[in-house]
Subunit: 699 residues, 2 copies
């Protein structure tokens, strides 16, 4: 896929320039100097030849077909170019030029026009406002970055062009190898999903790095990322975290959610590895691109110094890895050739005077050990240390055990520089300090576990009365409020089989008394007013009302309280509801994200919800397994299973509620927020009950 | 202090060797080549001259006085050397030689002997098994590290010699400046506290780095570190985290505590900055050693690329810094000279084509701004970028605003290498990626806040019946159990003014009935047995017992239950206690750490304690302010203040309990564990009550 970008048979530089320093000059120069073997056509009406290559006034004047056009002309000229590209039958356009959507509404209009032309003509478009594309295998450097990086298996896709080229410059100095570099720019057509899809089945790329500031199509991203991460690791650095605060928080759930949280949820559930710094992005990239995925989490550490060995051990604990146990027979083997003062129990401390041969023996013995899944070799320069010969030993041993990751940390400056270069050239990741090496091994391991344990998600059929739900929502949408009355919400819940207590709205004391008689005593009375959100704060809830007289008295008291505390509130009436037994208080909620759609929440409820924040999130639709997992990852799960002599709760019924909520919010995009607080969960076999079911819609 | 080590007037190398590669040769060479200006005396009975310096058979043969001796001889010879040093009147000895405590019991004995000799003679001893000492100001390199680092203001103290010299090698390549390097070795005499104390008032050192695997004297460390961190920052990399699991966890508190946690608590309360990786240690060291402490947390970011600016902004949020707001007048000023498409609202995005002059203007404007406390300048190499001239502009602007930290992140490789070197030479910390720069600014800011808000701790007088408490503990210590009976614990609490319900131990149903009558109904009955720790698990607690008959029935039921569930348990009897009103359940506890002594815990109690782990720790003795702070940092504080219409709790009474517990466990080192679970906290003004007070002692 996207071969017209990565492996075009011919490229036109539309806006090629004779002036060094100009974009149209530099890009042409980079294409030519990158060793590109296809045809190159500089396009410039005022030149006959640029950098030794025949120039054409327009792409329409080129006699042969053109695969890819790279455009560096000012925005106002690009519409014409797009039309010419359509006529000429180009397959792809890279628009380097800036001055489009990022520059204001004029530019946005122009960008849309061009995208439309390309779309109609079947031309895929990268950019505008991007720094181009590199494929080291083709090879083709159709980018603004003067250095083509070394051949490698890292694909780097960046939404920030400047960050992309700065990082490439750094990576070239670090001898890091890349398969592709793609600068996304404004994403008028091609976005991160197109690139992910294209790289998924492509053999040159072993790991995909994404620098993202936004995701264009959340739903598609969830699908693409889930598929691609099963085939190769995707590591993302997503910025714009601090924009999270921008979103107004209107309900409990909303207050805890936030756009950055949604990204975390989306990345976690699709298996994308999220890092928080640029340094981590490349620390992991090097490991993923050069090392195999380990079979398990047992790490061997071989070192010539105690301190760094301990630091590495600590890091293992921090990243949930295990320092591999060493069996007696292995200890015996190690003892046979290592000095008696060595550490034999991992970290294998081969002492400060270890020459390369001692390293080789320890490395071979540990790599050959079935209890070891990956290895970190640490070297500090001491009197007898042979850094370069040790590097060679590491390289040779690693080559013999291709199924186990080998990482190194040769700590030092001048004394180890040559050795580090040897390791890097041989594709052994070498980290300045041991902690980063362990972090990299941990991510390799986690990825391995994820790929190994592919879960088959089941989506049980849920029988619902969709017609009825639609009617309720339609009737509310007709009015001028956004929040459903409790009685409406209760009917909506019932339509989707979510258990709620029956609620009747009473507008007079007589009606309340009748409702109570119908429902059966004891009952609960609650004030109903769109403006009064936290009813108990004003004493707007009466529990355990046991007689008709009490119902009447309570009715007037609630109306009175509402009038006193919220004089301007519209009081709709009083809800009458049958008193229900106590249960474990949980919370289930949903907020709708602009990018990713409905996100379902589960957590501990009651007065604890706001300050404990013991919650799990997942983007809908939920599978049965996902719903159960949401419950299991919270601390509330411990409570639900029954702690310290208490009975276990009906967890199955919570799964059921989650699935039904997921279906409800997926079926009706007009439901903007949903909040069950509390969901009362009863003992195993006795179900659960959505005691307070709140729904907010959009018009 | 310790001038005989850092600035000796003469040094003897005891065990100087003529053979290159030998420790005795290399150390002498390093001393001579480091530019040391004092007298140097090689000591070797078989040579008359080494490396051009006159050699003596023994230090006793040296005609002039000797300040410092550096010993490289085998362990068995060192006792004699120590005796000679005592005779000769040396002030300090650095024992490089290994083969002491780290090699087994023989070595440990030898080490103790030597330490004793030195102690009696008033000789301070560094090591043994260390790599020596460097002072770049003297200058003196009496270490095994061949490269003397650049002059600077970082002191690096390492318990691992190999890590120390490896890091020095790396730091030399990075052009990092040091004031001192100390390899602690086995710490037979001088330990981290001696070095901290010595560096506290010394002008050459601005920041102290510690790599520690253990703390020798916890109580002294708490005092030294508290004092030193008020004068200069101390950054510690403490390893051995994963050894935490080794400690058996025998009570709730113990299960949550662990030796690494104690270190966290000790570092936090003394103001020591703890880092978790070697990379962080030096990232922070560079900033602390070169930059001023900012007045506040407002950061300005100047960048020529959007992406890295957003990453830096994200990092600000992560590290609790504020991206400085930009006032309208500043925006106007920026607008006057920056291109209209620039970002004026911080990050100040001066666009991809920014030359050095534009950087200079933006930097000056922002540094001159009273709303800005620190600045990060980001550069990515683009077409018009002038990395070196920009570096010069950064250096000049930084020099004009000496009271505000300036940090840089010039992202790239070859294109920015020269510029980075310029910045480094001018002492502007330059980080590979912007996130590390922000982390460094955050730590500078945190340190500034801590130093600024020096709290005067008050220790109110607590009137206790120490005599009575001592008697209770003494009577238990006489027996063969470690856990106090509930009735004893309740008396102990009372002696220290900790409110507990009265408890009477009944061994017969008659006694129980009499006790209930004395205490007044309703009462609570609880089984008392040293083996039955979680009484409610076996139904060993009877609440709300209201009549004599019920007391008698319950007595037999409890004894029966204990027999059934724990047939081999020793049942002491049944505790009778007056039923007390419900309150908010908190937990207070204490575990005694081998290094740091009693650590007090406070947190949310009840069934939540084990899985929420909402707890705060602090090493005793507690001040009133520290006790209040412990409460305030937990989420339980939200509950105690009263949420959602509930009354506020009596927080003062919790402070009081914490202070009394602190005093009790400080007064009696034989109290090994203490656990109040729950501490019932009542409404404001109504106090709190230690409902279950458990005390475990050591014999």
């Amino acid at each position: 896929m996207l071969d017209s970008f990565f492996k075009p048979s011919s490229v036109a530089v539309i806006g090629a320039s004779r002036e060094p320093g100009k974009v149209g000059y530099e890009i042409l120069k980079n294409i030519l100097s990158s060793g590109y073997k296809g045809k190159v056509y500089p396009i410039n009406p005022n030149a006959t030849e640029i950098q030794g290559v025949k120039c054409y006034p327009s792409i329409l004047d080129v006699p042969e077909p053109i695969d890819l056009g790279v455009v560096t002309l000012p925005p106002t000229l690009v519409t014409r170019i797009a039309n010419e590209a359509a006529t000429k039958g180009l397959k792809g356009l890279v628009i380097i030029s800036a001055g489009f959507k990022e520059a204001g509404s004029e530019g946005a209009k122009l960008e849309q026009e061009i995208a439309d032309i390309c779309h109609r003509a079947g031309i895929r478009l990268l950019g505008p406002n991007c720094l181009g594309i590199i494929d080291t295998f083709t090879p083709l450097n159709a980018s603004f970055s003067p250095d083509t990086p070394k051949l490698g298996s890292i694909a780097f896709v960046s939404q920030s062009g400047a960050l992309g080229t700065a990082v490439l410059d750094w990576a070239v100095a670090e001898r890091m190898g890349f398969s592709k570099f793609v600068s996304l720019g404004n994403k008028a057509d091609l976005n991160e999903c197109d690139i992910l899809d294209a790289l998924a089945d492509e053999e040159e790329t072993k790991v995909i790095l994404l620098y993202l500031e936004s995701v264009t199509d959340g739903e598609r991203f969830l699908k693409s990322a889930t598929t691609v991460t099963q085939k190769k690791p995707v590591i993302v650095l997503k910025s714009g975290v601090s924009a999270a605060g921008a979103r107004a928080a209107s309900s409990h759930t909303g207050a805890m959610a936030g756009s950055d949280l949604v990204f975390n949820v989306a990345f976690a559930q699709t298996g994308v590895v999220r890092v928080s710094t640029t340094a981590e992005l490349f620390d992991l990239a090097i490991a993923f691109s050069t090392q195999p995925i380990p079979a398990g989490g047992n790490v061997a550490i071989v070192t010539n110094a105690g301190g760094p060995g301990v630091l590495a051990t600590d890091a293992c604990e921090r990243y949930n890895l295990k320092v591999a146990p060493v069996r007696p027979e292995t200890v015996e083997k190690l003892r046979s050739k290592l000095p008696p003062a060595s550490g034999f129990f991992n970290p294998i401390d081969i002492l400060g005077d270890a020459p390369a041969s001692r390293y080789r023996f320890a490395l071979e013995t540990m790599m050959d050990n079935p209890d070891v899944d990956s290895l970190l070799v640490i070297l500090t320069p001491q009197a007898m240390t042979e850094p370069e010969d040790t590097a060679k030993a590491v390289i040779e041993v690693s080559a013999r055990f291709r199924n186990k990751p080998m990482t190194a940390s040769f700590i030092g400056g001048g004394a180890v520089q040559k050795a580090i270069t040897l390791l890097e050239e041989a594709q052994i990741p070498c980290y300045q300090f041991p902690e980063s090496a362990i972090e990299a091994i941990a991510e390799l391991t986690k990825y391995g576990e994820r790929v190994k344990t592919t879960r088959i998600d089941t989506f049980p059929t849920i029988i619902v009365n969709r017609q009825k739900a639609a009617e309720i929502l339609k009737s509310v949408r007709g009015g001028d409020r956004l929040t459903l009355f409790a009685s409406e919400a209760s009917q909506l819940a019932s339509a989707y089989g979510i258990p709620t207590p029956l609620i009747e709205l009473a507008t007079t004391a007589d009606e309340a008394a009748l409702a109570a008689a119908r429902l059966g005593y004891p009952v609960v009375l609650k004030i109903e007013s769109p403006q009064i959100l936290h009813k108990s704060d004003i004493g707007g809830v009466k529990l355990n009302v046991t007689s008709e007289q009490e119902v009447r008295d309570s009715f007037y008291e609630l109306i009175g309280r509402a009038r006193i505390f919220y004089p301007s509130a519209t009081v709709i009436g009083v809800n009458v509801q049958k008193m229900v037994p106590q249960g474990r208080e949980m919370i289930v909620g949903m907020t709708r994200d602009l990018t990713f759609g409905p996100m379902v929440m589960f957590g501990l409820g009651g007065i604890y919800v706001n300050f404990l924040k013991d919650v799990a999130f997942r983007l809908a639709p939920l599978s049965q397994e996902a719903a159960l997992e949401m419950i299991q990852v919270t601390k509330a799960y411990t409570l639900l299973r029954g702690i310290r002599g208490e009975a276990a709760s009906d967890i199955d019924s919570v799964v059921d509620v989650l699935l039904k909520v997921s279906k409800l919010v997926t079926d009706f995009p007009e439901i903007n927020e949903l909040d069950i607080n509390p969901l009362l969960v009863y003992d195993k076999g006795k179900g659960s009950l959505a005691l307070d079911f709140k729904v907010v819609i959009t018009h």
